[in-house]
């Protein structure tokens, strides 16, 4: 087992990793940028190293600085969290060369799944259902038009080096394809420094269903059920739940088995998530695989009674999974709401600054993952995730009730957050019925932050007042 883990991330996931390391008796190192000098993980870690100024490129993405921090502190493993370097095969290689264990899958697996068309190819070979499209980057706009014609519109153009909902463009008709292709290339070049593009059939009115996988380094792989993440705004998840009410047992079994088969085929180990699109007709299609811990992992942990960060660490340290698929028991229903420091009434603009007031919810059936505290500063340089509120109860209706209750307790004072959106969401009849699809938010959310169809008073500032 590792003596000392260096956490090369920030915010709530740094706290998450730190907590499990503490529970396992592993010493912790927090690396941080100037903007995070006063953050909770830095204060609580056994050691901390400032690795650069606020901009990510000079801090959380600064591989040399992180490696120097490993050398300075004698860390024997690093946990990359999500985002930043968590899916950077170069970083995983550098760690391996330096003799520091990267807590995650191998660099080869990261590279394979990070190359989205290559991942499609590998999963297709494993028999994972796939939407029509191309399994390699397009050679140009002309080929894009030809493949799109065969695939059938609407199609979605995607950056080969993208993922996580970024660098994608839906094309409804052939007339729009050439300009959409150029835009996608340009965006990909800017965001990923890789302008390769591929395309797939766009599944209209789909749901996003993903499967949590956990594999050891000796070929043992299990799934820990699925999560439904269909509440998204501009391809960014806002709320997630498990199980998905769109699946019956038979379909759930098929999707989870397909995910395990795909992971087993490539020899996957560590935690990972396979994402699917579920069409209205009940067909499901591979979208991508994420080779990291995901933001919404608590929803699975609550149902499975398993600490995913702990198992990532144990697996990286060479331990075998002591449980097989038949030992995995998922109980109840869990929902997570992402509370971001963004203002839904002002185009979801980030609202950095001083968080004067922060009172998180608590009590039975509630879990809060956060790094926030009263008086903390929300820097403008990073994502706006402030806290994750998770409710877990025997049934979905009870989980909704618990979440509604928890959201009334959450008090962020005058700071602009997305809590008003979630309060409204919990009252919306379509969400309550579980019939929502990926177009839910774009269909109902107004620019004023009002979720049409939800209870009128739900989102108001007074809805949470004691």
């Amino acid at each position: 087992m590792f003596r000392k883990v260096l956490i090369c991330n920030r915010g709530e996931i740094a706290m998450r990793i730190l907590r499990t390391c503490r529970d396992l008796g592993i010493a912790t190192v927090s690396v941080y940028s100037e903007a995070d000098r006063d953050s909770r993980a830095v204060r609580l870690a056994d050691e901390s190293v400032c690795i650069g100024p606020a901009p990510s490129a000079h801090s959380y993405l600064n591989v040399p600085a992180i490696m120097y921090a490993c050398a300075r502190t004698g860390a024997d493993a690093v946990h990359p969290g999500y985002g930043f370097l968590s899916e950077d095969p170069h970083f995983a290689e550098v760690c391996a060369e330096a003799g520091v264990t990267f807590i995650g899958p191998s660099a080869d697996l990261i590279a394979l799944m990070g190359d989205k068309p290559a991942a499609r190819r590998a999963m297709a070979e494993a028999g994972v259902p796939m939407a029509r499209g191309i399994d390699r980057p397009l050679s140009g706009a002309a080929e894009a038009a030809q493949v799109a014609g065969v695939t059938g519109y609407p199609v979605i153009l995607k950056a080969a080096a993208g993922g996580g909902g970024r660098g994608m463009k839906i094309v409804q008709s052939p007339a729009d394809l050439a300009s959409a292709y150029a835009e996608t290339q340009q965006a990909a070049r800017a965001a990923f420094r890789d302008d390769r593009v591929y395309l797939e059939k766009f599944i209209t009115s789909a749901r996003h269903v993903e499967v949590q996988l956990l594999g050891d380094q000796e070929g043992g792989i299990v799934h820990l059920g699925e999560r439904d993440c269909s509440i998204q705004r501009r391809q960014q998840k806002l709320a997630e739940e498990s199980p998905s009410v769109a699946l019956d047992d038979e379909l759930r079994d098929r999707i989870c088995r397909a995910a395990v088969a795909g992971a087993r085929k490539v020899g996957y180990h560590s935690a990972g998530t396979m994402e699917f699109l579920l069409a209205a007709d009940g067909e499901f299609y591979f979208m991508e695989m994420n080779t990291r811990i995901q933001v919404e992992h608590p929803v699975t942990e609550m149902r499975a009674g398993i600490d995913l960060v702990e198992w990532m660490i144990r697996i990286a340290a060479g331990e075998r999974l002591p449980f097989a698929q038949e030992d995995v028991h998922l109980s109840g229903h869990a929902i997570e709401c992402r509370i971001n420091a963004e203002d839904p009434a002002r185009d979801w603009r980030g609202s950095p600054g001083l968080l004067e007031r922060f009172v998180p919810p608590g009590g039975p059936r509630v879990r809060v993952d956060t790094h926030a505290f009263p008086g903390c500063r929300i820097p403008p340089h990073y994502d706006s995730l402030l806290a994750k509120v998770i409710a877990h109860a025997p049934t979905r209706d009870e989980a909704l009730a618990t979440m509604s209750r928890a959201l009334t307790e959450l008090d962020c004072g005058d700071a602009a957050t997305t809590v008003s959106f979630h309060r409204q969401l919990m009252t919306h009849p379509e969400f309550r019925a579980g019939t929502h699809r990926l177009d839910f938010v774009s269909a109902y959310l107004g620019a004023d932050g009002v979720l049409r169809g939800s209870s009128p008073a739900a989102g108001s500032p007074l809805a949470g007042a004691a």
């Binding site: 690795i51 300075r72 609202s351 001083l354 005058d414 602009a416």
Partner: protein
């Protein structure tokens, strides 16, 4: 006279700014207008990133213009992205702060601190030695790139906070110089 105690640039900044005549009592409107014009010029120098703080005296009139690193407003306002003050390789920027009367020279990046140009050679800035503004006082090596760390002001080295070949973190104090 222009002072720039927070030196974030590549060499001492020079520049002439017109100052008004020294008023005997309350400044006239003309003087105020020229002072405001001069302030605009100075604010421009500060905001372009090379200088963090400027203090200007003109007779009885003195003001100080300082750039804030992280503009935090009310929740709902967007703070602007700050450019990094350092460049990898070559002469590196140094963040100088007032600390107990001395200027503390801090590490602008993570890497290995070297006190001398080479092993066994005399240190750049030994304790008690006198340094000139802009004189090299250390090397921080990162990935085989030797970053020169320079003194922000002339003075005497009153403290050395780090050991030769120590891995330093961003912002770590290296030496303190008593200006003069």
């Amino acid at each position: 006279m222009i002072e720039h105690p927070n030196h974030n640039g590549r060499g001492p900044a020079t520049g002439q700014v017109p100052c008004g005549p020294a008023p005997d009592d309350l400044p006239t409107e003309a003087v105020i207008a020229r002072v405001i014009d001069a302030a605009r010029v100075l604010a421009g120098i500060v905001s372009d990133g090379h200088v963090g703080r400027i203090a200007v005296s003109a007779g009885a009139v003195r003001w100080e213009i300082e750039r804030h690193e992280e503009p935090f407003g009310l929740a709902g306002t967007r703070a602007r992205e700050m450019e990094p003050a350092t460049s990898a390789g070559g002469r590196s920027a140094v963040d100088a702060e007032q600390a107990g009367g001395g200027q503390v020279v801090t590490a602008p990046l993570v890497g290995v601190y070297y006190q001398a140009p080479g092993p066994g050679l005399p240190p750049f800035a030994a304790l008690g030695s006198r340094v000139a503004a802009g004189q090299q006082v250390a090397i921080i090596e990162a990935m085989k790139t030797m970053n020169e760390i320079v003194a922000p002001c002339a003075g005497v080295v009153s403290h050395v906070h780090v050991q030769d070949t120590e891995i330093v973190e961003h912002g770590q104090p290296l030496i303190t110089i008593q200006p003069g």
